[in-house]
């Protein structure tokens, strides 16, 4: 199963010209700055927006080309909209059952299936709640359940909140629109970078990490990523031992013995730099290193630090001169254990 789209379409005031491919079981992250055309592209794939030219094909079946337009209801697609767009006149379980009912399933059976799906998402107790009564995270999960209840071949997620563990259970083709590098890195295998309506880079995320082709991509994937062995050290903390040094992180509740192949992510903005060894006790990690490079755009500076492990830090341009940071000079980097996000092997 695969999705292949190569389209040109005209949105309100700009043109989106993009191609995107996705395979079953290999989620694609669609990333890009605001106004890049991500939502437009999702609407095109869902059949909600027309294309000017090009093709969209799912499993070899043409959904859109010069002469064809398959209506949204006849595509096997599920969409999770940016702000969820639940039906507020229906309960959560009725929302989830909607796609089954619309396809002609009997009410009782549809409700049963919807309830099972909600149960698998730990939401059965909210089945009769109205959307206005749901928390943001609950509404998010109901929206996802609604989109996958009819088992679509293609799942389109527009800016979901983090917490997409359900994606692992979805066996079809998934495209996830996101701003969040952590989401992109943890959810997807491949990435499509869309800027000003054009694809600026596409490929496996690891390739894009090693050679980002635009400033936006560099910014997005320039995140600290550590892999190694995680062992609890008490006090709710754990040590992640990588090949190039160790860091201290929050200990997951379930962890009682060491675990291999754990990935950890840390945003560069969460790394604080000092000239002297920091004395404050709140940050569990204080690592000494040497500045390898400083990329300063006049407002923000990205500092790459040779240390164990190597780190990337984002600081204001003012801090660079205030701290007297120089390439080749010494620096202390510090970050709190709770800022590190862990991805445990499944």
């Amino acid at each position: 199963m695969s999705l292949r789209a190569d389209v040109r379409c005209v949105a309100a005031d700009f043109v989106v010209e993009a191609s995107i491919e996705a395979e079953r079981g290999r989620p694609v992250a669609l990333v890009g700055p605001n106004g890049a055309g991500k939502t437009t592209l999702v609407r095109v794939l869902a059949g909600l927006a027309p294309i000017e030219r090009g093709t969209v094909a799912l499993d070899g079946t043409v959904l859109d080309d010069d002469t064809t337009h398959v209506a949204p209801r006849d595509r096997s697609a599920g969409v999770v909209f940016e702000d969820r767009v639940l039906f507020d006149t229906m309960s959560a379980v009725e929302n989830v059952a909607f796609g089954l009912r619309a396809r002609g399933m009997r009410a009782g059976e549809a409700r049963e299936r919807a309830r099972d799906l909600l149960r698998s998402m730990d939401l059965e107790h909210r089945a009769n709640a109205r959307p206005v009564e749901l928390s943001g995270g609950e509404a998010q999960r109901v929206a996802i359940a609604r989109a996958i209840a009819h088992e679509p071949a293609l799942l389109l997620l527009d800016e979901p909140l983090s917490s997409l563990d359900v994606l692992a259970a979805f066996g079809g083709i998934a495209i996830v629109v996101t701003h969040d590098p952590v989401d992109a890195l943890t959810l997807a295998d491949d990435m499509v970078v869309l800027e000003h309506g054009r694809v600026t880079q596409t490929g496996p995320i690891d390739d894009i990490r090693s050679a980002p082709r635009s400033a936006y991509a560099a910014e997005l994937v320039g995140i600290n990523l550590f892999t190694g062995r995680l062992e609890p050290i008490g006090d709710g903390a754990a040590r992640l031992q990588t090949d190039a040094g160790a860091i201290v992180v929050s200990c997951p509740a379930a962890l009682d013995s060491a675990l291999e192949d754990v990935t950890a992510l840390l945003r560069p903005v969460d790394v604080v730099l000092y000239r002297e060894q920091p004395s404050e006790a709140s940050a569990r990690n204080a690592i000494r290193g040497t500045i390898r490079s400083i990329a300063d755009d006049g407002q923000r500076a990205r500092i790459r630090i040779d240390a164990s492990p190597p780190l990337i830090a984002d600081v204001t341009s003012g801090s660079v001169s205030r701290l007297g940071l120089k390439e080749g000079g010494p620096v202390w980097a510090s970050f709190k254990a709770v800022e590190v996000r862990l991805v445990l092997p499944s």
Partner: protein, 256 residues
């Protein structure tokens, strides 16, 4: 908020008094000892005709007004603004003109009336005619209310329904109409209240036939010439019915 100029407040107070005064006067002048006369056959018959005509007219305005509102708010076609003006015309048309127009269309020699008569349907001077006249003037109110609701709808709700496999009809039935329920109810109440008070179009097109087309407003008008006390009592009955409409719209017009 900045305080309003005194003159504005005075004018507003005058307006409220001007509205309240006739109602208070009605209650003050009413021959309350004669209240039992409302149970007499004349007023009672007029009340029943009024209820039948106003409810049927409201139902008609629902059946034709909701689709019209949807088309006006959603469809793009040449001449749309002309069609919209036509649909809303009865709002500004003098009711008596509406009555004369209905006669010209559905009267015995009317454009359509002749054909209808041939198949045995007669509208002028019948209860059905009174219903048609009331619906004619009431429907635009429902259209306006519902149209505003359609324009305020989040279309992505319908998009979502469509991606979930819903046919157009299913989207309308399960998503669009339920989301419009508050506006439809409000429009229905306003249209019903307008139909309840209808006078000009009804008397012109349907006449003033006791038991068939004589609604409460027509009965009040007739009684004013012979029995003002009865007219006042029946007016108070209409006030009571109108209060029902206000209560039904509570939260929409009141307590804002």
């Amino acid at each position: 908020m900045r305080d309003l100029p005194g003159a504005v407040k005075v004018l507003a107070a005058l307006a409220v008094v001007a509205v309240a005064l006739p109602l208070v006067a009605l209650a003050a002048r009413a021959p309350w000892s004669d209240i039992g006369r409302l149970g007499a056959s004349g007023p009672r018959t007029a009340l029943f005709v009024s209820i039948e005509v106003s409810l049927a007219a409201a139902a008609l305005s629902l059946v034709f007004g909701v689709p019209t509102a949807l088309v006006l708010a959603r469809s793009r076609f040449p001449g749309r603004s002309i069609v919209r003006s036509l649909a809303l015309l009865p709002l500004v048309l003098p009711p008596v003109v509406a009555g004369v127009g209905l006669l010209a269309a559905f009267g015995r020699r009317g454009v359509l009336g002749r054909g209808l008569a041939a198949i045995g349907i007669r509208l002028p001077f019948t209860t059905a005619g009174a219903i048609l006249a009331s619906a004619f003037v009431a429907t635009p109110l429902l259209i306006l209310t519902v149209e505003a609701g359609v324009r305020a709808l989040d279309r992505r709700k319908e998009d979502a329904a469509e991606t979930l496999g819903a046919s157009r009809w299913y989207v309308l039935r399960r998503v669009t109409l339920p989301a419009l329920a508050p506006q439809i109810v409000a429009g229905l109440v306003v249209a019903w209240a307008r139909a309840l008070g209808e006078f000009g179009a009804t008397i012109t097109f349907a006449g003033n036939i006791r038991g068939r087309t004589q609604t409460l407003p027509l009965a009040v008008f007739e009684a004013m010439q012979t029995d003002p006390g009865a007219a006042i009592l029946m007016s108070l009955m209409l006030v009571a019915l109108s209060l029902v409409a206000l209560v039904a719209l509570r939260g929409r017009f009141l307590a804002r």
